[in-house]
C-alpha cells in the first residue's frame, strides 16, 4: 500500500495512469517533432536540413506506427479499444485520438509515397520475382519518372507537408489537451499544457534527429554535414528555451497568484518529484543542455567540428531525458497529488514485467528504431549517391534494365 502524507481521498491513492501513459506522449512527441524537422526542408526550403529531411520523415512514420500501442496496452479492456473509433463519444477529448491519428497516418503515408516514389520505381525495375511484385505494388502501377512527373511529385510533397505539419501539431497538441482540459487536477489544468507539450515535442524530435543523423551517417559511412548539425542544434536551443520558459512560467504564475493548489503542488515538486523534476527536468535535462547548446550556437566559429558534434550530441541526449522527465512529472506527478489538495501519495514505482511494465516501455521505445532499420532495408532512407536515376525510360513490367544490381 502506498504511504500517504496528509490526507488523500481514499480512491486517490491508486496511480491509474501508468508508465504506458508516460510513454504515449513521449512517443507521439517524436512523431510531431520529427515532422517539424522534415517540414523545415520540404515546406520552408531550409536547405541545411536536406541531409536529415528524409530520415526525419521516416522517423515520424516509424514512431507513428507504435504511437497507439501504449494506449492500447494501458486499457483495462484492450479488446474494446476499437470502440474509441467505432462508437466515439465526441464530447471526450480522448475520442479525437482515432480521428487525428488516422488522418495524420493517411497524409503521412501519402507524402512518404511521393518522396520515395523514385526509389520504389528504381527498385521495382532492378528486382525480380516476388520482390519485384512487392515494389510494383508499392509503386501503384505508375513508373513515370519524367521531369513533369517529378515536378508534380514535388508539388504534391509540398502540399501534403502543408497539411501534415498542422496535423502533426494537432496530434501532439491534442495530447497536451487531454491533460490540460482536466479541471479536476490543478497540476494538469492549464491552457499552457498543449503548448508546452507541442514545444517539448519539437525539442524531442530535433534532439532525436541529432543523434539518429550522426549514427545513421556513421553506419552508412557518409560524412556528417556540419551545417546540418549546427542548424539542428540552433533549433534545438530555440525550442528548449521556449519549452523551459513556459514550464517555469506556469509555476511562477501559480506561485505568485498563491493559488489554492500551489501549497500542495510546491510540496509535490520539492518532495515527491524533487529528483525527476528539479534534478532531471530542470537541471540535468534543462539547464546543462541550454548551456551546451548556447556554446554550440554562440561560439560556432571557434569550435572544432568534433567538439561541436560532441556538444550537440550530449545536449541532445540530455534533452531527451528532459522531455521524458517532463512527461513523467506531468502524468505520474499529477496522480501523486490527491484531489483533496491535502495529501500526496508515495512515489510510484512501475512494475518491471507485465503489460504496463518497464520492459514493455523499453520495447516500445526500441520498436521504432527496428521499424526504421526495416524501412532502410526496404526503401533506403537516404537518397542513393547521385540521386535516383534521372530519367530512365519507363520500363515495361518484368524487364529489369541491363547491368542493374541489387544493393
Amino acid at each position: 500500500m502506498p504511504e500517504i502524507t496528509g490526507f488523500a481521498f481514499p480512491n486517490d491513492i491508486h496511480v491509474t495512469w501508468s508508465l504506458m501513459i508516460v510513454m504515449y506522449p513521449y512517443i507521439t512527441g517524436f512523431v510531431a517533432g520529427s515532422f517539424i524537422v522534415t517540414s523545415l526542408y520540404h515546406l520552408f526550403d531550409r536547405q541545411e536540413f536536406k541531409p536529415v529531411a528524409r530520415l526525419a520523415m521516416a522517423t515520424s512514420f516509424a514512431f507513428l506506427l507504435v504511437a497507439s500501442l501504449p494506449l492500447q496496452l494501458h486499457l483495462g479492456q484492450p479488446q474494446r479499444g476499437p470502440f474509441v473509433i467505432v462508437t466515439p463519444n465526441f464530447t471526450s477529448a480522448m475520442a479525437g485520438f482515432g480521428i487525428l491519428y488516422s488522418f495524420y497516418m493517411l497524409v503521412l503515408v501519402l507524402e512518404l509515397w511521393f518522396v520515395w516514389r523514385q526509389e520504389i520505381i528504381e527498385r521495382a525495375r532492378r528486382s525480380r520475382g516476388t520482390k519485384r511484385a512487392f515494389y510494383a505494388a508499392l509503386a501503384l502501377g505508375t513508373y513515370d519518372t519524367s521531369p513533369e512527373a517529378i515536378e508534380i511529385d514535388h508539388k504534391a510533397i509540398k502540399i501534403l507537408a502543408g497539411i501534415c505539419l498542422p496535423a502533426a501539431c494537432m496530434l501532439h497538441g491534442y495530447v497536451g489537451f487531454i491533460f490540460g482540459a482536466i479541471k479536476a487536477n490543478p497540476w494538469w489544468s492549464t491552457p499552457l499544457m498543449p503548448v508546452i507539450f507541442l514545444l517539448s515535442a519539437a525539442v524531442s524530435g530535433i534532439a532525436l534527429l541529432i543523434l539518429l543523423y550522426q549514427v545513421h551517417a556513421k553506419l552508412e559511412r557518409r560524412p556528417v554535414v556540419a551545417s546540418c548539425v549546427q542548424a539542428l542544434a540552433s533549433w534545438l536551443w530555440f525550442f528548449l528555451i521556449l519549452t523551459i520558459t513556459l514550464e517555469e512560467l506556469e509555476l511562477i504564475v501559480m506561485a505568485y497568484e498563491k493559488s489554492e493548489s500551489w501549497l500542495i503542488i510546491s510540496e509535490l515538486l520539492t518532495t515527491r518529484l524533487s529528483f525527476s523534476y528539479v534534478t532531471m527536468q530542470m537541471i540535468v535535462g534543462g539547464l546543462i543542455p541550454l548551456i551546451l547548446l548556447a556554446v554550440v550556437v554562440l561560439m560556432n566559429r571557434y569550435l572544432h567540428e568534433k567538439v561541436r558534434n560532441t556538444l550537440a550530441t550530449v545536449a541532445a541526449f540530455l534533452t531527451l531525458i528532459q522531455v521524458f522527465s517532463m512527461r513523467w512529472n506531468i502524468v505520474i506527478g499529477g496522480q501523486l497529488l490527491s484531489k483533496s489538495l491535502r495529501g500526496l501519495r508515495s512515489p510510484y514505482e512501475p512494475e518491471i514485467f507485465g503489460r504496463e511494465g518497464v520492459l514493455v516501455a523499453i520495447a516500445l521505445f526500441v520498436a521504432p528504431f527496428v521499424i526504421l532499420w526495416v524501412f532502410d532495408r526496404v526503401l533506403g532512407i537516404e537518397e542513393p549517391e547521385g540521386g535516383p536515376a534521372a530519367n530512365p525510360p519507363a520500363a515495361p513490367p518484368g524487364a529489369a534494365p541491363a547491368g542493374s544490381h541489387v544493393p
Binding site: 483495462g76 479499444g81 471526450s92 480522448m94 482536466i182 484531489k339
Partner: protein, 263 residues
C-alpha cells in the same frame, strides 16, 4: 414521515423479494408476467414490487447530507461494500473526520471510515471536530461522462451517473476527471466503478443501502420531482451547499452545515 413510509414499504418489499427467491419459478406468477417481461426488455424499467414498471421520467433523485448528524460509525460504508461487493481498498462511499483548530487542521479517513474512527491526537488546539460522509455527487454537468471516449459513462434521466461495464474500455479517463475521487478502476473487471446510488434498489422503490442503514439520518435520499419529499423541501427552501462549487459540475449531492475546510 416519509422515512417510515419508505422504510415500511422497503421492509415489505424485501420480505416479498425473499419469498420470491425461495419460490424460484413462482416469480412470474406472483409479480405478474407483464411486469417481468417489460423489465427484461428495458434496463430502465425495473419492476416495482407492487407491479408496474419503473419510469425514469417520473423521478429526479437527489442526496442530502447533514454533517452535524454524522457520528462516524461507518455503517454506511460497510453497507455499501456488502450491497455492491466493493473490492477491498476501494470505496464507493467513505467518511472523513475533520479536527479543526484556528492554526491547523487534521483530516483522516482510515479505511474509508469503514471500521469507525480510533481516537486521534493532534499537535494543535482543536476547536471543533466533525465527520463528513462522501459519495459520488452524481453531477448534472459531470466531467466524468464528458470525457468518456466511448460513452460508457452516462447520466440517466432520473439523475444517476452510471457506468456501463459492458462497454467501458477501462482507460481511466473518468477516474482522472472526477474532482471528488469517487471513481476507481475495479481490480477484477478492469472497468470504471463508482456509486450508483444503489440504482438496483432505487428503481424498486428502496433507498440506497447507505441511507437505509444510517442510524442518525445524516444521509437522506429523495426525489426532486415528488411533492412533499423532505429532501426536496430542504434543497428548495433551506441553505444547502455543494462540494467544489467553483468547478461548476452541479452536484446533486447536497450538504447542510458544511465547513469551509471541506473540499
Amino acid at each position: 414521515m416519509s422515512d417510515c413510509h419508505d422504510g415500511c414499504d422497503g421492509g415489505r418489499r424485501e420480505f416479498l423479494a425473499g419469498t420470491l427467491k425461495l419460490a424460484g419459478g413462482a416469480v412470474v406468477t406472483v409479480i405478474g408476467g407483464s411486469a417481468l417481461a417489460s423489465s427484461s426488455s428495458s434496463p430502465t424499467s425495473a419492476p416495482r414490487p407492487g407491479g408496474g414498471a419503473y419510469d425514469w421520467n417520473e423521478h429526479l433523485w437527489a442526496y442530502l447530507i447533514d454533517t452535524t448528524k454524522c457520528i462516524g460509525c461507518g455503517s454506511c460504508a460497510r453497507a455499501c461494500k456488502a450491497e455492491n461487493d466493493v473490492p477491498d481498498g476501494f470505496y464507493r462511499t467513505w467518511i472523513e473526520r475533520y479536527v479543526v483548530g484556528s492554526e491547523d487542521s487534521h483530516v483522516d479517513s482510515p479505511n474509508g471510515g469503514m471500521d469507525g474512527f480510533p481516537p486521534v491526537q493532534v499537535g494543535f488546539v482543536a476547536n471543533k471536530s466533525f465527520f463528513v460522509p462522501k459519495i459520488c455527487n452524481h453531477c448534472r454537468a459531470t466531467p466524468c461522462t464528458q470525457v468518456c471516449p466511448v460513452g460508457a459513462s452516462y447520466r440517466t434521466k432520473d439523475g444517476a451517473v452510471l457506468v456501463d461495464a459492458e462497454s467501458c474500455i477501462g482507460c481511466g479517463y473518468c477516474v482522472q476527471a472526477c474532482p471528488y475521487g469517487s471513481r476507481f478502476i475495479h481490480p477484477a473487471t478492469h472497468t470504471a466503478s463508482k456509486c450508483t446510488w444503489c440504482y438496483h434498489r432505487i428503481t424498486k422503490g428502496l433507498k440506497p443501502a447507505c441511507v437505509t442503514v444510517c442510524p442518525t439520518q445524516a444521509r437522506q435520499f429523495g426525489d426532486l420531482k415528488k411533492e412533499g419529499d423532505p429532501v426536496r423541501a430542504v434543497v428548495e427552501h433551506d441553505r444547502v451547499q455543494i462540494l467544489q462549487g467553483h468547478l461548476l459540475t452541479e452536484p446533486q449531492c447536497y450538504y447542510t452545515h458544511l465547513d469551509k475546510e471541506v473540499r
